[in-house]
């Protein structure tokens, strides 16, 4: 009784509330031992059990003819045609990267790649969505350099190209950066693998690295508030080994393709326990494992460590009955540690033995069915006031040309070349559209004429000011980015990075954002096939808890039926005509311009009309596939003027445009407002393009022509004529990141 009372008092150290501990006691009808409490704590953590977010997930659309595998497996899979599927998923490694950026980011890449090849897919692209604090601070430099080095270290060595991503800077991420990594893999439909234990009698095979005391309690650590206490957690760093992972990848795929694997899963958060527990749950069966057989890197490891260690580069494979030896033989070639550590049983418990004794015996269901919390969200008054703020008093700057160079030089908008040139983005020889060339990456599918496109997007300022509209806008932007390269959007994965959900204003953001994503995905026919949740992204400043800007990163995948019919953003020469598909912006609300130039994060986010969005996407796709244009770019941060400049810089070709808009709209809104549903294109064929756009029934405007060595924009009604040389724009755009990286 004393023992149990002690455990109950210590429930918090296992990541359980006292109520959860009592619930556990009631469910099993006895006191758990410490190992069992820790296992339950890990399985019920946000990371594994999604206790705060799962009730919201039911709003997501998850089905569609293109979905081969929806949420619930290691990764989602979409059908791209010709018997090919694409597995994809995004995952965060925020807290580990805040502590040790190189290894934190590296192991983030390693972890998401394992999710992909666990599906039987060969990883063929990585994208990374990164958020840091103030670009001028030494801490940001340290984190950015470390994260970039970590991604390069792992991705380059394992030989999967890093083909895209985003890097943005905002003070809310100063202590708590976001490192979200998305990976894509290619598979033949028949090779689709599942994370299941299969049937009674199957054996459970451990393969990969030995188990050390790495990242112990990592699942709890990842869900705990990040505060000064995390200094003490520092030894919780895990070191990744891309070489080992490469062997594991080849071995796993070879085994799956040889047809000797009935189930497979990587060991991620909460290591051995979560992987085997989830596989047992999917099979609806129990298992028994002998912890004495776990290969260890250090002496004297105890069950708690063996169970919860987050040592990297480890997998669980379940052989097809009768093919056990074949599997072991095949793995031997790769010189990995391989041990049969348990078997699937007719009972329904998760049973572990150590030194001849049963040390854990809990129902598989209980472990996998974390309590769910539906909380009450209340919008923050402070944020509401910012949104409702009247912006009519904001002055229009006298020198709108200087604004253009200032925006291009903002680290969030500026060229990311100094970063992506450290990533091998061409290995595997499939990358048709490389980083920096367009709004999304495009990889060809060898042996077919198709291409796969991918992008990751989120504008956290929009989400902050209006979580519903901002999150929906992230989906819309992702779809638009795919359309700009000529890809039909297929499905998304999401990474929900938020603060502490116990705080009503944070729960409000989470709930509204989920609804926004769900509605946009429904409207744009891009179901959610998986995702990841990272909560408690905040830190303590004095006595105050500061949450990050809510950041629901959207990773979207699309298909190009003919990869040669693709578009990039660079102007392809002089004498082409520029069009805006969609309508001019009419507000500066929530824009990067308002923040950078006027120091204000305020106003309503641009209105989102998903029907219009779809029409603009369809129009752009039609033009690209009809061969009427191969040059397209969407308007995002910085608005029209910045987007035009990016096209000019990328193509080293100037342009001259005239905006004949009513003077009732402010000039700065026309130039720098961030309205949705807008795509810029350039074409040598005016007549054909206009006919096609008219037939599509979308609004469009002829803006002007390409050529010259300036970006010149006239607003005759406003008596404004701004002209900046291409070299000045290029300089502004290309220098900032190199300086931050140092």
């Amino acid at each position: 009784m004393t023992q149990a009372a002690t455990l109950r008092d210590r429930a918090g150290t296992f990541g359980l509330s006292t109520e959860e501990f009592d619930l556990l006691v009631t469910r099993i009808g006895r006191e758990p031992n410490a190992l069992e409490a820790a296992i339950v704590g890990a399985m019920w953590s946000e990371h594994c059990g999604y206790k705060n977010s799962r009730p919201l997930f039911r709003h997501f659309p998850t089905t569609g003819p293109q979905v081969l595998q929806g949420p619930g497996e290691n990764a989602g899979v979409v059908d791209i045609g010709d018997g090919w599927g694409v597995a994809f998923k995004m995952e965060s490694h925020n807290h580990p990267s805040a502590v040790e950026p190189v290894q934190g980011a590296a192991t983030g890449v390693g972890g998401i790649l394992r999710d992909i090849f666990a599906m039987g897919a060969r990883p063929f692209a990585v994208l990374d969505s990164l958020r840091f604090g103030n670009p001028d601070s030494p801490r940001t430099r340290f984190l950015l350099n470390g994260v970039v080095e970590g991604i390069a270290h792992y991705g380059n060595a394992i030989g999967v190209p890093t083909v895209g991503g985003e890097v943005t800077f905002h003070p809310s991420y100063q202590e708590n950066p976001l490192v979200n990594v998305m990976a894509l893999g290619l598979l033949r439909h028949e090779d689709l693998a599942k994370g299941t234990m299969g049937e009674v009698g199957n054996t459970i095979v451990y393969v990969g690295s030995k188990t050390g005391r790495d990242g112990l309690g990592g699942a709890v650590f990842a869900s705990a508030d990040l505060s000064n206490a995390s200094q003490a957690d520092r030894p919780a760093v895990q070191v990744g080994d891309p070489f080992m992972e490469k062997l594991l990848l080849e071995a796993t795929l070879e085994a799956i393709q040889a047809g000797v694997v009935a189930g497979v899963q990587d060991m991620g958060a909460a290591g051995l326990v979560s992987s085997t527990c989830e596989m047992a749950y999917r099979a609806g069966l129990g298992i028994t494992m002998d912890l004495d057989l776990v290969p260890t890197r250090e002496d004297g490891m105890v069950p708690m460590e063996l169970c919860l260690s987050e040592s990297q580069e480890r997998m669980i494979l379940v052989p097809v009955p009768g093919k056990e030896q074949e599997l072991l033989n095949l793995l031997a070639k790769w010189e990995l540690d391989v041990v049969t550590i348990g078997q699937v049983e007719a009972h329904t418990n998760y049973r572990l033995t150590w030194r001849g004794e049963v040390v854990c015996d809990l129902p598989v269901d209980l472990l996998n069915e974390a309590p769910k919390y539906t909380r009450e969200g209340i919008e923050s008054e402070e944020i509401r006031a910012k949104r409702e703020r009247d912006l009519s008093g904001v002055p229009v700057p006298g020198d709108l040309g200087a604004v253009l160079t200032d925006l291009l030089a903002h680290p969030t908008i500026a060229s990311k070349r100094p970063i992506y040139q450290r990533f091998d983005h061409q290995v595997m020889t499939n990358t048709v559209v490389v980083p920096g060339a367009a709004d999304a990456a495009v990889m060809r599918v060898k042996g077919s004429g198709m291409g796969v496109a991918a992008t990751s997007d989120c504008n956290p300022r929009f989400v902050y000011l209006d979580p519903y509209a901002g999150a929906a806008a992230a989906v819309a932007e992702a779809a638009r980015n795919l359309a700009c390269v000529g890809a039909t959007p297929l499905a998304i994965t999401d990474n929900l990075n938020f603060g502490n959900p116990h705080r009503p204003e944070v729960y409000y953001q989470l709930e509204r954002a989920v609804h926004g994503i769900a509605d946009a995905c429904r409207a744009l026919n891009t179901p959610v096939t998986g995702g990841n949740v990272s909560l408690y992204n905040q830190y303590t400043e004095g006595d105050e808890r500061v949450a990050i800007h809510p950041t629901p990163t959207i990773g979207m995948v699309g298909v190009l039926p003919d990869v040669t019919k693709r578009a990039t953003m660079d102007l392809k020469g002089a004498g082409h005509t520029l069009y805006l598909i969609g309508e001019h912006a009419d507000s500066i609300g929530a824009s990067q311009y308002l923040e950078t130039v006027h120091g204000l994060e305020a106003g309503h986010v641009p209105t989102l009309d998903l029907t219009r969005e779809q029409a603009v996407i369809d129009a752009a796709l039609h033009l690209i596939r009809a061969g009427l244009t191969d040059t397209a770019h969407d308007c995002a941060e910085g608005g029209l003027a910045v987007a035009l400049s990016e096209m000019a810089i990328a193509g080293n070709t100037g342009l001259t445009v005239t905006l004949n808009a009513p003077t009732t709209t402010r000039a700065d809104a026309l130039l720098y407002g961030e309205a949705h549903a807008r795509i810029l294109i350039a074409t040598p064929d005016e007549a054909g393009t206009e006919a096609a756009l008219n037939a599509q029934g979308v609004p469009f405007t002829r803006l002007g022509t390409t050529g010259g060595d300036t970006v010149t924009i006239a607003l005759p009604g406003h008596h404004i004529h701004l002209s900046v040389t291409l070299s000045a724009l290029t300089h502004a755009f290309t220098t900032p990141l190199a300086e931050i990286l140092g």
Binding site: E100, Q103, P235, V237, Q238, V239, D241, M244, R297
Partner: protein
């Protein structure tokens, strides 16, 4: 004012995985050096510092712990010796 030669040794903490050491060990065993074990690969840094011994020792400790090694995952130690040749020149 004297000149000192310092040697800094940085090794991964024993509990931390050393992928490089593991790979080298395996390679050696394939090359018929199966009697080799416990391979750990670290860094060896040489530097020269000028100043008084007390100053330089304090500085080296700081540099070793805060720049040359990452205390999250590495241990470091250092040795220092006064450069006789230099001293003579200085004298």
């Amino acid at each position: 004012m004297s000149t000192f030669k310092a040697k800094v040794f940085v090794t991964l903490k024993p509990s931390i995985l050393d992928p490089q050491g593991r790979t080298v060990e395996r390679a050696l065993s394939h090359l018929d050096h199966g009697n080799v074990s416990g391979v750990r690969v670290g860094k060896y840094i040489e530097l020269t510092l000028s100043g008084s011994r007390a100053e330089v020792e304090a500085q080296l400790k700081d540099i070793t712990e805060n720049v040359l090694s990452n205390p999250v995952m590495e241990d470091a130690r250092w040795e220092i010796s006064e450069q006789q040749g230099e001293e003579l020149v200085g004298a």
